[in-house]
Symmetry: C2
Subunit: 313 residues, 2 copies
């Protein structure tokens, strides 16, 4: 009788690991450092060792496990191979095959942003929905599209690359990805600060933001909540760009719900309201009024989603 | 032994019907008028009668049939119900249930644009690919997203509403759908003419297009092929808007191929080249260089796709 699974989220600094019941209860979570030396050669061995230790510590047997899900910060092919993962130092790495050999448990592998989206749909902000889109607003902007309870990966692992949706056709500055006008340029924590500095340089309105150094997305959102009109304009613009991206997503995949996560989403309802204000007017009737919710799992979304990935629908 | 299926494409003027082998060979096709009187009450009965006649004419039995696929010009729910179809005069109509009762064969129902996309992937421009996006440039702009050989319908049947992707954030005129800046405003046959007239009114460059009445998308594309620089600008702009839509589609679903169909696509390679020219510079590396192909099934795409829908993957 299969009762458990492991969810693993491999990041550039640490690996998060979780022990779950098949019903989605997180029984235990822990972290190990990511062994990036030697092109990340020891990362998967370390993960396998840590999982074996947990089995032994809890007196569990592999027969009780559905398997292991692993989220990777890079594109993953349908057969669980990672072709390049700069953050881990990896070249082509058949993660699924290697992990199955190391630990003797069925392994599923996915991109970390997609996996987090699956986690939020399973047990977080998207719980109760069959299809969802998650947008993660952090240092960059990531995301994932979940259809009928499964990750949409795409032909080149690039489905759900929401941070690179083209939301400003007039932009001349290039995103880190090499093209202009990406959502990430306006909605990442750094993008929000850059846009505010652009505005402050071009206008002389009084605002509590002027002269603040270092300026941050949190300072801007807090100032907006306190009634600073320039900060409110910045949050409104952020909502406009996110609404444009959501309009594109709705006319392509028509999800049941949008879930907004990442550090910037701590701004809360003021951010969701800004998105909602701009979303309906740029959508056809059939997709107006979709729910926008906040992510609830925080940094655990990845281990939840990895676990769900190996459990399947 | 199941050997055959029917594909039916119900339009506002006529119903197209096809008899297919399970391998995708079209053995016979015919049309009947769409009985729009009395709120379209007789449409499904007429279809059933026509299919029964074909069985009798060819000495085929229902036991040899997988079923009937039906494309409808409106949104269709997951259980095969149409909630409103203005073109057919229908209010809420449980098409799948009614057709199964009328003819005693398994019935699958889908939106006509989605079904045409499936047909093109099965036996047309997208043949050999597992995932594709079709864009149909006709009186309006329709489309469909096919993932792993199946139609992506969306929570409200609005997935693949490519004609209403927001491709011009500066537009003030409204599309028929009620919002501004939709692809359909620039890439439908009427939109192309409207844009050319806008340009002609604002510029006084010499061009063979000036004074032509009625102007048409075909005249504009032909003039572009003949070297008319204004017509070439119009085709280039059309390519730019289509490329923007395809960029959005690629960063959301990352298909293997784009298939361009509908009357406007008869312009051929000059149109595909205009899209390709604008597509790569607005895409991240993982989705650059996707193939753009012309649809090949013409008006038969709907019956092919309906047949494939009932056959399943």
């Amino acid at each position: 009788m299969k009762k458990y699974c492991f969810g693993v989220d491999i990041g550039g600094t640490s690996v998060k690991l979780g022990l779950f019941t098949c019903e989605g209860e997180l029984l235990d979570k822990w972290e190990i450092p990511t062994a990036k030396a030697d092109g990340g050669a020891a990362i998967l061995t370390d993960v396998a060792t840590s999982l074996e230790q947990k089995l032994s510590e809890r007196n569990l047997t592999k027969e009780e496990f559905v398997g292991v899900g692993i989220g990777i910060p890079g594109p993953v092919s349908a057969d669980g191979t990672v072709f390049e993962c700069v953050n881990l130092g990896w070249g082509t790495t058949p993660v699924k095959a290697e992990m199955e050999k190391l630990i003797g448990l069925t392994t599923a592998v996915g991109n970390d942003a997609n996996v987090a989206a699956l986690g939020e749909q399973w047990q977080g902000g998207g719980k109760g929905f069959e299809s969802s889109v998650m947008i993660t607003l952090g240092t960059g902007v990531g995301g994932g599209v979940i259809l009928n309870g499964e990750i949409l990966a795409g032909a080149n692992g690039a489905a759900g690359e929401i941070g690179h949706l083209y939301v400003n056709y007039e932009e001349e500055d290039l995103c880190n990805c090499g093209k202009p006008g990406c959502l990430e340029q306006y909605a990442s924590a750094t993008g929000i600060v850059k846009e505010a500095k652009r505005y402050l340089a071009a206008h002389d309105e009084p605002t509590s933001l002027r002269g603040v150094e270092p300026l941050s997305a949190k300072i801007i959102c807090d100032a907006a909540k306190n009634g600073d009109s320039v900060a409110q304009k910045m949050v409104d613009q952020l909502g406009r760009y996110l609404a444009i991206a959501c309009s594109h997503l709705s006319h392509v995949v028509d999800p049941e719900v949008f879930v907004i996560g990442g550090g910037v989403s701590k701004a809360g309802e003021i951010l969701l309201d800004a998105i909602r204000r701009h979303y309906d007017p740029i959508c056809m009737k059939a997709v107006k009024g979709k729910p926008f919710k906040l992510a609830t799992l925080g940094n655990d979304a990845g281990i939840y989603g990895s676990a769900k990935m190996v459990l399947g629908k």
